[in-house]
Amino acid sequence: MEKRVTFKGWLLPLLLITPQVVVTAVFFFWPAGQAIYQSAFIPDPFGLKSQFVGWGNFQFIFTDPYYLASFKTTAIFSLSVTIVSMGVALWLALMADRIIKGAATYRTLLIWPYAVAPAIAGVLWLFMFNPRIGVVSWYLDKIGYDWNHVLNSNEAMLLVVLASAWSRISYNFLFFLAGLQSIPKSLVEAAAMDGAGFWYRFRTIVFPLLSPTTFFLLVVNIVYAFFETFGVIHTITAGGPQQATNIMVYKVYSDGFVGQDLGSSAAQSVVLLFVVGLLTILQFRYIEKKVHY
């Protein structure tokens, strides 16, 4: 006996999934197909005619030192953003979970930054750290540090990481707080009676029980750092100085629409497509198995 609720015919279910299929087709399959198709051509800058080159574009990007450097930049950037935003969010959530008075206000304030769009967040940080007029750079100058992310590539990386992580903290905070509150209080109390201090309890009880949330956030944050940080990079550094913050997704844009090399840009998109697919499969296949208790 089939226990699930099933449809009798096939027309209604087809009709019901049509909107989702259409959206996916128009906004994913079509562009992705176009990218794959175009990655085999080199069009002229005006798009009037294009020349078939086969794997040529791929051969070109994988021998291009700037592109290979972009891989490394992306890895450093994504990992840093994920670690910073999740680390800070977890710490804030742990603290927010402990306070009793004014908890609602405190939590609301912590969730607010999520409403700020990435590009706006980028501009905010840009103003604060502007080497000439920025508030933070002024104070840094006072204590004898010469901040100039326009010239210093490490400082540029630090700034885009901070800006990207900052706008993500609220989102992570929300999930971590919900995760913490779903851990039965009696477990923590039992551990306290067993003699475990706050950090020992966190390490042996709270963090393991939080692992489904942590895993989910890890996936979501890495994907965020890969793609949605475009606005931040674009407003703060535009990939500079000297390509130091040119992550893969930004390089697709800058090579294609600034450098007018559409073939290379398309090939990079295809690579990105594979990287993300691989990342997601790896995460769900191997890590998810270990987080269930």
Binding site: A190, A192, D194, G195, A196, T204, Y293
Partner: protein, 350 residues
């Protein structure tokens, strides 16, 4: 050797007071049961002893030492929670060994002590399982094991049997009693089940609305309930309480019994009599209109009202009876030596 004493312990949440001054002395290796209806503050009281709740006023002393401001871990107390609070990601072994690991006990000793505890609780075959792979009774035992393995000076139980089915509950009740006797550890057990309370406790504390109604041995509480509340709470089915007016008259005007003498008292009187202390006497003026009969096997509970009034009464008759096998009304005789008298206003025993 561990004694616990509470001195006028109070608990308030803001302006709301939930515990109104509880004082009690618990002797070494005594098993105390705190019993009362839901929301009477019994769990709060237990959590204050454990150190999981702040004490608003008064003192909690363990072995004569005030522990009000000691962290739970520094009180050397073990607690069994209502939902067992087993760590779901750890095996039974790790659950039991958790406190020993914190105390930095040597590995070989941990292994040996966990083994011993597991043997004691018949958990030997389950040490490598996760809590979700265990039945309710086994989880309960793991929770007990976690408490025992530390060799604490005090055991606290917060309604540990309420999640088990009726048969298992009786079995675990006996096991807990047996273990406590064997280990001789001072224990406080909280429950809302009066049968559990009667069978487990060396002494019972009946709590009602944050106040101690009565503290004493189960037999004391059963034979000499200090108030109408205790009288009706302890014993199943609960005690009948009938208002009695001057000249020992019941609500229907009949005289209770010429043998029964009420104490000298200015206020309104209530008579308490347990269902098993009422005899059938066809010649009696006190008659019960039968409404329902519950057959319990060894005896039958007859529910009805006193003839000529609306006062309900329950009588326990030996043997099996049905509505059909009984007359519409029966004559009753209250055993004079088992009559309890209460002041109707305050509910206190006279």
């Amino acid at each position: 050797m561990t004694t616990i004493s509470l001195k006028d312990v109070k608990k308030s949440y803001g302006k709301l007071r939930v515990i109104h001054g509880v004082s009690v002395d618990i002797h070494d290796s005594e098993f105390i049961v705190v019993v009362g209806p839901s929301g009477c503050g019994k769990s709060t009281l237990l959590r204050m002893i454990a150190g999981l709740e702040d004490i608003s006023e008064g003192e909690v002393c363990i072995d004569g030492k005030v522990v009000n401001h000691l962290e739970p871990m520094d009180r050397n107390i073990a607690m069994v929670f209502q939902n067992y609070a087993l760590y779901p990601h750890m095996s039974v072994f790790d659950n039991i060994a958790y406190s020993l690991k914190i105390a930095k006990t040597p590995k070989s000793e941990i292994k040996q002590r966990v083994q011993e505890t597991a043997e004691l609780l018949q958990l030997g075959d389950y040490l490598h399982r996760k809590p979700r792979q265990l039945s309710g009774g086994q989880r309960q035992r793991v929770a007990m094991g976690r408490a025992i393995v530390r060799r604490p000076s005090v055991f606290l139980f917060d309604e540990p049997l309420s999640n088990l089915d009726a048969k298992l509950r009786v079995q675990m009740r006996l096991e807990i009693k047996r273990l406590q006797r064997k280990l001789g550890i001072t224990s406080v057990f909280v429950t809302h089940d009066q049968v559990e309370a009667m069978t487990l406790g060396d002494k019972l504390m009946v709590l009602n609305d944050g106040r101690v109604e009565q503290f004493g041995t189960p037999v004391d509480l059963y034979q000499k309930p200090g108030s109408v509340f205790v009288a009706q709470f302890i014993g199943s089915p609960s005690m009948n309480i009938v208002p009695v007016s001057e000249g020992q008259r019941l609500p229907n005007g009949a005289v209770v019994d010429h043998m029964v003498r009420s104490p000298q008292h200015a206020g309104e009187l209530s008579l308490g009599i347990r269902p098993e202390h009422i005899d059938i006497d066809p010649t009696s003026d006190v008659r019960l209109l039968i409404e329902m009969a519950e057959q319990l096997g060894a005896n039958t509970l007859i529910h009805g009202v006193l003839e000529g009034s609306t006062a309900p009464l329950v009588v326990s008759m030996p043997g099996l009876h049905t509505l059909q096998s009984l007359d519409a009304s029966i004559g009753l005789r209250f055993q004079p030596e088992n009559c309890h008298w209460f002041d109707t206003g305050s509910g206190n025993r006279l």
